[in-house]
Point group: C2
Chain length 441, copies 2
Amino acid sequence: MALVVQKYGGSSVADADGIKRVARRVVDTKKAGNDVVVIVSAMGDTTDDLLDLAGQVTPTPPPRELDMLLTAGERMSAALLAMATMQLGVQARSFTGSQAGVITTEQHGDARIIDITPSRITSALAEGDIAIIAGFQGVSQSTKDITTLGRGASDTTAVALAAAMGADVCEIYTDVDGVFTADPRIVPTARKIDAISYEEMLEMAASGAKVLHLRCVEYARRYGVTVHVRSSFSTKTGTWVTADPATLATAQRSTNSGVRGADEQGEQMEQAIISGVAHDRSEAKITVVGVPDKPGKAAAIFEALAAAEINLDMIVQNVSAAATGLTDVSFTLPKTDGKTAIKALEKAKADVGFDSLQYDDQIGKVSLIGAGMRSHPGVSARFFAALAATGVNIEMISTSEIRISVVTRAEDVDTAVRAVHTAFGLDSEQVEAVVYGGTGR
Amino acid sequence: MALVVQKYGGSSVADADGIKRVARRVVDTKKAGNDVVVIVSAMGDTTDDLLDLAGQVTPTPPPRELDMLLTAGERMSAALLAMATMQLGVQARSFTGSQAGVITTEQHGDARIIDITPSRITSALAEGDIAIIAGFQGVSQSTKDITTLGRGASDTTAVALAAAMGADVCEIYTDVDGVFTADPRIVPTARKIDAISYEEMLEMAASGAKVLHLRCVEYARRYGVTVHVRSSFSTKTGTWVTADPATLATAQRSTNSGVRGADEQGEQMEQAIISGVAHDRSEAKITVVGVPDKPGKAAAIFEALAAAEINLDMIVQNVSAAATGLTDVSFTLPKTDGKTAIKALEKAKADVGFDSLQYDDQIGKVSLIGAGMRSHPGVSARFFAALAATGVNIEMISTSEIRISVVTRAEDVDTAVRAVHTAFGLDSEQVEAVVYGGTGR
C-alpha cells in the first residue's frame, strides 16, 4: 500500500468551504487505496492576523510566547479538517507537531528540524485512520516548548515527514496548477512544467519562484523525496520534482529546443535545455564606492556583513581605476536586511576606508534556469541578445552551471521576463495557466 | 509571601486593550509582594466563533477534534497576556492546561478534574515568574488527549489550582463589581454583598445568579478556598466567598434586619439574615396530567426521566382528587432538556398510564436566599406577602433551609424580584451597581 503525504497551504483552507473541499480530496486519495498523512497550514490569513494581534499588545513579542500564539492557527485547521473528513465517513485524527514527533532546535520563530519520530502517526495509519498534522510547528528537544519553524516551513515539514516515513510521494497542494516556465501573471503564455530536477527547482526557488520554498526543495533533494506540486482546485497532474525528471517526460512536454532553433520538430531525446524564467523584486543593491584596491579590503567588507548575519546574493567588483587605485564593490541582498547592512558598513568605514555607500531598492533580478545549458554553448549569448533587443539595461551578471541571472531596473522586469521566455521558445500557443488567486502559496 | 491565583474571563480580555489592562492588574498584584498565578479564558466571543466555524464544517463535530479546536482560544489569550506582562517589564510564561498539570477524565467537552500536579507552575514561581495558564482545558489521564472541562470551567480550574497550591485567595475577575443582592439590571438599587458563605453562594448560583458557576463554588467549599469575586475594571473590593463571612463583615455591610423591621439601627452581631434575591428564566415546566394515585406511578415517571439523564429542579405533586383518584405531577427542568424529557415521558406513557403532558416554557423562578432564615420564623410569610401585594401569582413553591423559591410567570419575574428586594430592606439609598456590559461572566 502506497503512503502519500499531502500538504495543503493556507489558501487551500481559507474557509469552511475550502476545508470541505480539501477533505474530499483527502478522502479520495484514501479510497484509491493509499495510506494518507496530511500536513495543513493555518486558514487563510490567520497567521498574519495573530501576528497583528500580538503587535497590538507589544512591539516586541517574546519568541516563546509568539510561538505559543501562532501555533493556535494550525491547530485549528488540523482539527477542522479532521472533522470534515470524519463527516465524509472516514476516520481521521488531528495531531500537533509535537504529537507527530517533529523534534526541533529551540530557536523560536525559526527552529530547524532535528529529527522526526512519527510513532503516533504510524500507529494511527495502522489503525486505518488518516493522520492530519498541524504544520509549521514542532517541539524543542531541549526545552520541551512548542516551536515554529519559520515562514514557508509547512512544505518542509511535509517533505521531512515523507522522508522519515519513506512515503512514495509528497504532494504539495497550492492554488496554482504547478511550477510554470515563468510567473503566469507576467507571462500569460507560460507553460506548466511536467517534471523538473531538484537542482533546477532549487535555482528557480532561489531566483524568485515562489511556488516551492527553497528549504523544502533542499530537504527533498537531500533525502530523495519525490515531490508533486499541484492545485487543490483541480485533479490535473502538476509538476513532479525529482532526481531524474527525464524518466517522467510525457509526450506533452515542452519540446523547446533552445539554441537549435524554435522551429525544430520531433521528440526531445534529452531533458529540455531550459526549464524556465524566474524573477525577483525582493532585493536591493548596495554599492560600496571607492574601496582602496588593496588586499584585505574587500574581505573586511564581507566580514562586517557576515558579522551582522546578512545573507548576500550577487556580488560584483569592478576593475579598479588605474589612476585612483580605487574600486567599487556591489552586492545584492534582501530589502529587509538593507538597514542592518548599511549600519554594519558604516561601522566598518574607518577600517575599510571607502568613500561612500549607495543604496538602490529599485532593482529586479531575472534568471534563466536550465540543466541543459551546461552542455549547450550559446545560451548566454541568446539570453543577452533577447534583453538587448528590448532595450533593457543589464546592471549585474551572475551565473552558475544551470542558471544565468541579471540585475535590471525593477520596472523592466516584466519586459525582460517576457522577452527571454519568447526567445527560448517557451511560449505556449495559448494561455495555459489558471491563476486562482493568492500568491501561489 | 502570599500566593494569589487570579482568573480573568472572556469579557475582561475581549481585545488588545483588555489584555493590556489585565496585564497591569497582574503586575500590580506581583509588585505588591505576591506570587501570582493567572488562569485566563479565551478572548471575547472566541469560543462561540470557533464553535460556529466547526458547525460550518460538520453538524456533528467529533468531541476529540472539537476539544483540539476550542483549546486554541485559551492558548491564544494566555500567550498574549504573557506578552503584555513582559512588555511591562515583569517575567511571565504561558502554559497550556496540560503543561500546568490539570489531569482530567477523558470525557471530551465535559471532562472532570481528577488531579492537579502543578510542578511546572511551582518551578516558574520559584524563578520569580508569573505563571499564566490557559483555562477551560486539561489533559486526559487515560488517552493523553487535550480535553475541555465544560462551559464555565475556567472558574473551577482557578479554584482547583488554588486548592492544589494552597493559595491564600482565588480572585475571580469579571465585569461586575461582585455578587449583588439582586441582578442590578432588574433592581438598580441592589447592593454589592461584601461577604457570603459557600452555602448561600451555592444557593444563589443554583437559583440563577450567574456571577459564579455552581461547580466552582462547590469546589471552593469542599477544599476551603477563599474566593474573591471582583471587577477587572476597578480596584474596589468585591464579594468574599468563604466559610465564615461574618468575620469579614465590615461597617458598610447591609444591616438589613429581616423580619425585625427595616428601621432597626445598630451593628449586626450576627450575619445578615438575607443575602439576596436570585431569578432564573432558563427553566420550563412539565406537568404530567392525570397520574393514577397508586404506589410506584410517580417513581416510574422519575425513573424514565433519570434514564434520559434529565436534571430536575423543583417537583410538585398535588393531592389527588378523591373523585378521580388521579393527580398531577409537575416539575421544572432546563429548557434545553425539554424535548428529551417529553420524549422520555411519551415512551413511559403506557407504563405510567397518565392522561396527557403539558409543556410550559414561560415560567420564571424567584428565590430568596439567606443563611439567617433558618433561625428566623416569619421570613416565608413576609416573602409571600410581598408577592401577593404586587399581584404576582405563585405557581410552585420549593424551599431549603436557607432558600425559598417560587415559580411565577416569566413576565412577572422582574416585578417579583423588586418587590421581595424591597420587602427585606435590601434596597440601598442610591444606585450602587456599575454594570460594564456582558452577562457578568
